[in-house]
Symmetry: D5
Subunit: 130 residues, 10 copies
């Protein structure tokens, strides 16, 4: 695997495909460019997914995020595109991506996109008394 | 787009209308006037919406909030009016506006208004175990 | 409106009765007397309601809370009584009152009372992915 | 009422039995003994209940907790026993007891036990948008 | 019971098998090795379970966690394996294991796995107004 | 000792007068009246002192604070008066009183008054590296 | 006293001029205009002072802050001007004003200005061990 | 070493007596009895010391704290006594003991006692810019 | 002023050079490249300075930070270089720059550099009792 | 540089030896063994130093910490030894090491050790008003 920015999201086989378990990743090192002004934008990304056959490689994910460093990207669009790229790479049962962008114009924007695999339904949540 | 206060909420096409994703904005710079005393009031606004065909421009939203600076506005009324203006501008599938007003008379008031587009229902929430 | 303690809860017309929106108030300045010992008790009150035809005046609410300053009141009873007084005054679609009392005997007590108007049902909650 | 440790949980009539309201108590002063080593254990207890005909006296509850000071008690067992004693004393519609024990062996243990009165069902929760 | 690392999860009889109550454990002292680099990994584990006939011994659990100190273990795999080992040892009605791993490559990963016993369903949650 | 409000600050002998040690008390249950409007004011008081021959009784202090419940008192004045009353009662080597008043007019006011006994100087502080 | 914005800072006599005590005020409702763009700016002000002969009226201070609502003001300049106006009004022994401005251009700016009366020196601080 | 409560504070040789380094211990499991009412009191203790020839054994310290479980002890007195016992056991260059007692009568009390060895002075603190 | 990355730190005259006041800026949007691996690094910068004749322009500072986006820079070196560039641009009486870098190799690094103008000494700090 | 545990602390030349600036590192991944029981211990280390001619390599520091994984080490001793090893490797003007150990026996222990180079004195701290 190279250590250059890359749009390739390498994968590995889900070690426990018979269970709907959750993998979550917090990624505070995302930066791209504002398409209008060309100036840097920053965000923290939060990814949650239930894998099907494949998981995404941590290092590949890091290089993928790096690949946005010199790209122009609108907040709403880039969040959906990253979600779509991840879905294309690992075809998960469920995936949710949240992008918390740094403040612009005195306004703090967050975008959240979900994907559910056709035919998949979540197990009913067990709400423990707490 | 001017940089003067304006009631016009400019929009842009939703880049991913085929998905019900969420856009959230925290806006700590809202101020208007108390209709009874004429004195300044302050609030932090929290907006969450699921766009249909249109999204609201960040800069237009900022100028729109500015337009309340010299207007008298009751807490309950202004929260509903801003929600209505946003609904009129972007006709979203879902919209929620929360206004946390600064303390008056030792009491901290918050108002939350929702809009759901006729015929739209949310996807059942996936409650991840966490 | 006087500025003396008062049991009268003055009201004003709900500016948006066609919408089920929420008004919340945090009131950290409540004090009454313990009926057993006569000593002062303190609490922070949290009120949430969905108005029907009427809202409660902020200033009247403040004077109403003041009216308990010299009254004996048990924790469980006074929370229910304040909820009942508010229901009598504004006849809301929904009302919830929480009273967080200051510690007594090493124990921190909180009481929460709800009222739902006959025939009213809440809109199903939209649980945004977040 | 004495001021000695006591297993007696004195009660008083529920002042508002026609309403399902919640009484919550946080009790950070619980200590007992480890049955294996005889050494002191500590916990914070959190009690939530919906009374039926009876409420529990705050002072009696304090003396009841004190009664465990010289008793050996396993974490899982004592949480259930205290819940059972409270149920026996006030026969509530609903009761939940959480015990957050202090760390032992580098592990922080919490136990939560619930009781629901036969035939009682909770009102559907009103989830306010917030 | 020895004080050496051990894969044996000793158990004791559930003191209240007639009730579905919850036992939760926070375990901040987990460390294993990265299978790719051989370098140490660290995590905080959070376990929640509803016992059936058996509970897990706190001390045995500590020695079990210790047994991973010199083992290579991928994040996704080891979380599922620990969950499986616990299920094999105590056959609980419900079990959830969360592993919060320390940051690697600028990314913070958490994995959550659940087990539900065949034929068991949780009591509907009582959502207290709060 | 009565359980009525009282200006008398009862004392007990300092158990360790040969050492300059610090006694601190946080008192969140202070209320008086605004001299201009007659309406209730609230504050949390923080007291720190180094006793000389006498300490102040906890219960007497509580009754003393209660004695302000029906008195008019300006923020700046009442803080200095309480400090002076404590100095008159226990003649400490050092005393500091901080009063954090609840917000009025959108402004949060805090007043801090100190007293140092003539001829007393503090030991130089040991600033531990931390 | 009017309830219109005003540059007049009304005062009252210091009730305890023989003591160097501290009055602190947190004022989260400050807004002015950016001199370059004309757009609103916001800040929270923190004032600490040791009065000499005079204190500043809380209500006058509120109206004074209001007077900046339609004025252009650079961050560094306005902080010093407010400090100077307060010094001119009450001639304190010591005064410190901190202005925490809301983020602009991704940068959070704070300005702190002090004034010490000629010939005044603070009592050496008593650093309590804590 | 026994595992019974004990007033004996066992020690071990300071492994680095040529350096003034700091050992700090937070001990949240302290309980004794109120001498007036006989009821349990609770506190969290914070110990900081610079050892001379001896350090205190962690396990002995735990048993020592346990020895107060059945003793009556006033807040001010017991803090000084524990400090004195530690000084007698290890004769440190510097020692500070803080006891944060649980709330009584609505008042939260903390006591802090220091000891400095005759002839010892601390190195001047290096205040790193931070 | 352009809106391209730039090493030029434009300035404006200090509006209050007769006072030693403090300007502080928190800048969470700094990124450069690791000179060894070429991969992105991230930091939050904290700047505090006491201006002499000149202040630094907020917008110029933003473009200056942007200029590091494609540069290789070691943590220790880049913090000192930014501090030196700021000193060269505005020749302040005092300047402190703190850079909190994001975690690398499981280690969180922060670097703090100071500059004091020759012949300048700070006013002795007024430590308000608080 | 190998990627095996190593006692060698590799260094690089201080890029700015003419300035007394501070390098700080938070290292939450330290583990060793208890010399009495052989069981794992854990700590978070905090290092602050002012370099002279040399800085310590981040990667070497990571491998050095790893070298304690299979060593027995008392809390007080290991903190001083790591401080000494760092002093031997980089001979800094100033160094401070804090080790926050995980709870044992209900007690949370922290050890802090300092080193100052002979003949070096810190610049007097500039205490900015804040
Ligand atoms: Ca992996
Ligand atoms: Ca504001
Ligand atoms: Ca946009
Ligand atoms: Ca209050
Ligand atoms: Ca109103
Ligand atoms: Ca306790
Ligand atoms: Ca009661
Ligand atoms: Ca660890
Ligand atoms: Ca057990
Ligand atoms: Ca109060
Ligand atoms: Ca006492
Ligand atoms: Ca006043
Ligand atoms: Ca030891
Ligand atoms: Ca960033
Ligand atoms: Ca500027
Ligand atoms: Ca380096």
């Amino acid at each position: 695997m190279s250590t250059r920015p890359s749009k390739t999201l390498e994968t590995f086989p889900n070690p426990k495909p018979e269970r709907d378990y959750v993998i979550s990743m917090r990624m505070p090192e995302f930066t791209c460019l504002c398409p209008k002004t060309g100036q840097p934008d920053f965000a923290t990304l939060y990814l949650d997914f239930i894998a099907d056959e494949l998981c995404v490689e941590l290092k590949a994910l890091k290089l993928y995020l790096w690949s946005f460093r010199d790209e122009g990207a609108f907040h709403e669009d880039v969040t959906n595109r990253i979600a779509d790229d991840l879905v294309a790479a690992i075809n998960p049962r469920y995936l949710r991506l949240k992008a918390e962008f740094y403040v612009r114009g005195g306004i703090y924007t967050t975008v959240v996109a979900e994907h559910r695999k056709a035919g998949w339904t979540p197990a009913p949540r067990v709400d423990l008394p707490a």
